[in-house]
Amino acid sequence: MSKPKVAFYWCASCGGCEEAVVDLNEKILDVAAAVDIVLWPVALDFKRKDVEAMPDGSIAAAFINGAIRNTEQEEMAHLLRRKAQLVIAFGACSQLGGIPGLANLSDRAGIFRTVYQETASTVNPDGVIPLTACQDNGRTVTLPGFYNTVRTLEQVIAVDYSVPGCPPTPELLADAVQALLSGNLPPKGTVLAPDHALCEDCRRKDSRPEKLTVKEWKRPHQVLADPEKCFLAQGLLCMGPATRSGCGSRCEHGNMPCTGCFGPTSRVRDFGGKALSGFASIVDSNEEDEIARILEFIPDPVGTLYRYSLPASPLRRKKMEVTTHA
């Protein structure tokens, strides 16, 4: 019997999710023994045309990491959707938009201006910007088109499962592969991780006071954090109460508060809104001015609260000033 075929693809991502696959270490041999990897640009030489040549639905599962922000990524997502029986949004960018999703605070023109013209290290006297096609010695050179708005995978194609994390842990990946191979699959749409808040699994939770209040927030570089005590009780902004568990508390073990990469549990639609609600309500003041002063500590509320989830939030992006064509 032929082995089930699996594809790995990357879109707008940093490569960290690929690391999660490599971090399976010797377990990757079990995976490789159990499945046929038919596409994995970071490690193998299969091309888009190889996938195009395969019959529709012939890939058992496609793991797609990264958000969708250009035309090529969108085309590949559609192609893999057609060829694969199951599509798994792998990692925070694919599931929620991730760090690249913060580009939704700007737009194409703004990003191009910053990156290709304004940064101090840019030398670009001719003002060259990426074009979808240009002539070079009589040949046409092409690039994918760049969108104004970063989207989650689910905003582009139907997604069967998500694996959260920035990046997901090798354990979650191994569990997901195991579930696929055994055919023992949860209902479609399930996020393949525990469905409770990180605090529940935190070894510091007993040091969390009954009534948590914060008079002054601190940033991790400003204090030497007590390695045993609840971060929130120390005035460190920890996303644990709003974030899904399943990461193995790696940041907490490194004495760093949670930044929320695992996203919300199934009961929450808007991660940032919920996190905002929690953090603001424990501010220890009833005076408008003092509240403002304490919360000034967060210089960029969207970047902090929606660090991994802006494209998946109700507003999805900053308002576009120019009205675009229909």
């Binding site: 035309t71 605070l105 194409r108 023109a109 191009f112 201006r113 003002g127 910007i129 074009l131 979808t132 096609a133 088109g145 760049f146 969108y147 104004n148 708005t149 929450v268 639609r269 808007d270 940032g272 809104g273 919920k274 905002l276 609600s277 953090f279 603001a280 309500s281 501010v283 003041s285 009833n286 408008e288 509240i291 403002a292 919360l295 967060i298 960029d300 509320p301 969207v302 609260l305 939030s313 109700p314 507003l315 999805r316 992006r317 900053k318 308002k319 576009m320 000033e321 675009t324 064509h325």
Partner: protein, 154 residues
Amino acid sequence: MPDTTFEPTIVAFFCNWCTYLAADSAGISRFKYAPNIRVIRVMCSGRIDPQFVLDAFAKGADGVLIGGCHPNDCHYQEGNYKCLRRFNLLKRVAREMGIEDARLRLEWISAAEADRLRTVVNDMVAKVRELGPLNWSVPNEEFSAEKVEMEVAS
């Protein structure tokens, strides 16, 4: 040119014990005020999840008005303070997303202040009308190379 026919839609979250009663009393007293608010009664301003407000904007509201009890008057002792704390951060999130300040407003209005309710609603409607529709939507993008060149040139 400002759209003179534009009638803003304002979602109003009023607490059960103060502002909602003020609205009730305004009705009983036959006060006339702008019909642009859609009132949603919640038990306490502390119950207003920031998700509600962001959802309202995302789904077409031109403004969101939150009404609660005056400080020290909360039926649940400190729900309105929780609302006040959240409002600070919520306002800053809204600002960062490009939503003008006048579109999101928090007011303490007691059950006895029907007249104040009328003033606040009329004032907010006038200010939002001046701003024009919010029309929140994420445009469906079709890619065009010429447009990119135009954008960067401008």
